[in-house]
């Protein structure tokens, strides 16, 4: 990009640059975004959790949903891998199991966008010390 000749030019650069910095901005204030933790322990990786994570990152971005997707260790639900924990702003986290690409898509459209609960929720059976 050559010289910025106007505020409009500046704003263009800003938009591009913001998307690159997004990760840090969200990381600093996660409560404002949809937080998704993807279990990426051995069982998770073995069952394709990485693909799910990539899908979620791309699709949420494409559909304009402000979300923070991070990977985490073993959540304990090894039998139901891939598992993801979704926390909508100001809500309790919900864990979904057996998440494949189709399920991930459903979770985005139904739960994240509309708050509609979807099949496959795993009840939480432990307390987290945060």
């Amino acid at each position: 990009m050559g010289k910025l000749k106007s505020l409009a030019d500046l704003k263009k650069i800003q938009e591009e640059a913001r998307s690159k910095l997004d990760l840090r901005v969200k990381g600093d204030n996660p409560e404002n975004y949809v937080q998704i933790k993807v279990a990426m322990a051995t069982c998770g990786i073995a069952s394709g959790a990485k693909e799910i994570m990539d899908f979620l990152v791309e699709e949420l971005d494409k559909r304009g949903i402000g979300a923070l997707v991070t990977q985490t260790g073993c959540m304990g639900y090894c039998y139901a891998e891939p598992t993801i924990e979704v926390t909508l702003p100001n809500q309790e986290p919900v864990v979904f199991g057996y998440v494949d690409l189709r399920k991930a898509d459903e979770i985005i459209e139904k739960y994240i966008k509309n708050g509609e609960l979807v099949d496959g929720i795993i009840p939480v059976n432990y307390e987290k010390v945060d």
């Binding site: 000749k5 990152v57 991070t70 990977q71």
Partner: protein, 597 residues
Amino acid sequence: MSKYKMHLLVCGGTGCRASESDLIVENLKKELEEKGLQNEVQVIMTGCFGFCEKGPIVKVMPDNTFYTQVKPEDAPIIVAEHVIKGRKVARLLYTDPTKKEHVSDSKHMGFYRKQIRIALRNCGFINPENIDEYIARDGYMALGKALQEMTPEQVIDVIKKSGLRGRGGAGFPTGLKWEIASKNKADQKYVVCNADEGDPGAFMDRSVLEGDPHSVLEAMAICGYSIGATKGLIYIRAEYPLAIKRLQVALKQAREYGVLGKDIFGSGFDFDIEMRYGAGAFVCGEETALIHSMEGQRGEPTNKPPFPAESGFLGKPSNVNNVETFANVPVIMLKGPEWFSSIGTEKSKGTKVFALAGKINNVGLIEVPMGTTLREVIFEIGGGIKNGKKFKAVQTGGPSGGCLTEKHLDLPIDYDNLIAAGSMMGSGGMIVMDEDDCMVSIAKFFLEFTVEESCGKCSPCRIGNKRLHELLNHITKGHGTMADLERLKNMSLVIKDTALCGLGQTSPNPVLSTMNNFWDEYIAHVVDKRCPAGQCRDLMQYSINAEKCVGCTACARACPVGAITGERKEPHSINTAICIKCGACFEKCKFNAVVIS
């Protein structure tokens, strides 16, 4: 375009770099490449995070994990455990000293909880060598707004309304300063940034320049627009090579984008900035000495009035502001003066960056709203006194300031309160002292600095400070009298009253302040010939505890003046008349029999 899924932010402030944080960056990059993750995980070197005590710092985003005391050898494990497996590396997490628990999110740390980072908003967040990252954080929007939507008078009005006061030490209202410069007519005006930061132990400005140099450049351009200056000068001390490099990179990038140079944003306004380098003189932080140094003359101050706003660089109206003052400007322009003035106290708005040093647990850089109390700073943010010792005093304002004691702990920090308490804000250095610090020695230590740094132009500072130092030395050696204390006071008051510039006018402050608050310590030195804190070596008595002494004669053999006598296997004794207090016997004794009191 591949999107990074994780950012590893590594602190690139000079403190952490001294602990090889640049090697950490290298190793992380190497590790990621080996594992084929270089397109998914970005490694960024940022500015100072402030928590220097626990550096080098590595912050993992987006999960907001704060790693402390990271070594270059830790790179593989961070990648293997955290990046790949998503498991935090426990031994690198911060441990809260009271709760003894790991805290991974910096927001929950005692150090950060009360801080509001405005001047340091981008430090530790962006890569300072990438202008795009600055722009992503609203960089240069304030300049654009000023040029396209506001008149120079409106810009000055915003700064005035915000209540921003100079962060270099004197606290002069910034808006008013800009207004005076704008009113003086001339064919050329200058905006000068004082980046000399001479106070020993102060590194607020350095961190801003290393971590967010564009904020200063943008602010200078805004200032230039408001006062009618087309040229800016940054006077930076040569001892800051990293800050210089970051500024040079920033200037280059800003010029490439045209946000510095001719016709910025097509507004018709020209502004460009030159750098000038100091040469190791604290006195060149004084604005008139700074200006003369830039003009190629001897770095000596000249009498004010006339002030630089009327007659400054090359005799033209010049507005001189500190780095931190400038760093606040863009965000005030964007968020509005009401937001800024909602933070702080009635007469001191906004936040202040402090460099915490001395006998405190959390040594580092903090930014707190004005009005935060000393107790909060020292005990909550600072984590209390090291090694569980008792708090004695805190020196604010460096060699120009005074000390505050226990009775001032609940003082809300602001410009006027500190002056009323016998100290001053200064540039933000805070040196914490404990029960083992001798206040007379502290005063002597600060005088050593000002004697060294005096330019020599005026008699009270050139000679008076030297005499003050000699007298303090005399007292710490145990030869002082009550008359000497009276003379110390009188000399200090006269030096303050007659010196030509701020250096001389404030150099006696440590003396007056310690005499005021710790008079009993001075009396002890002079009347009892005793140093209560146990620091003044010449006032200490060396003796041998007969019960512990086994008569091995090791101390007697070590003594260079033959002051120790005693038979083999019999307790020895020290002749205090001959003893020169070198401490050799203390070092030699394996039985802890030598006692220093």
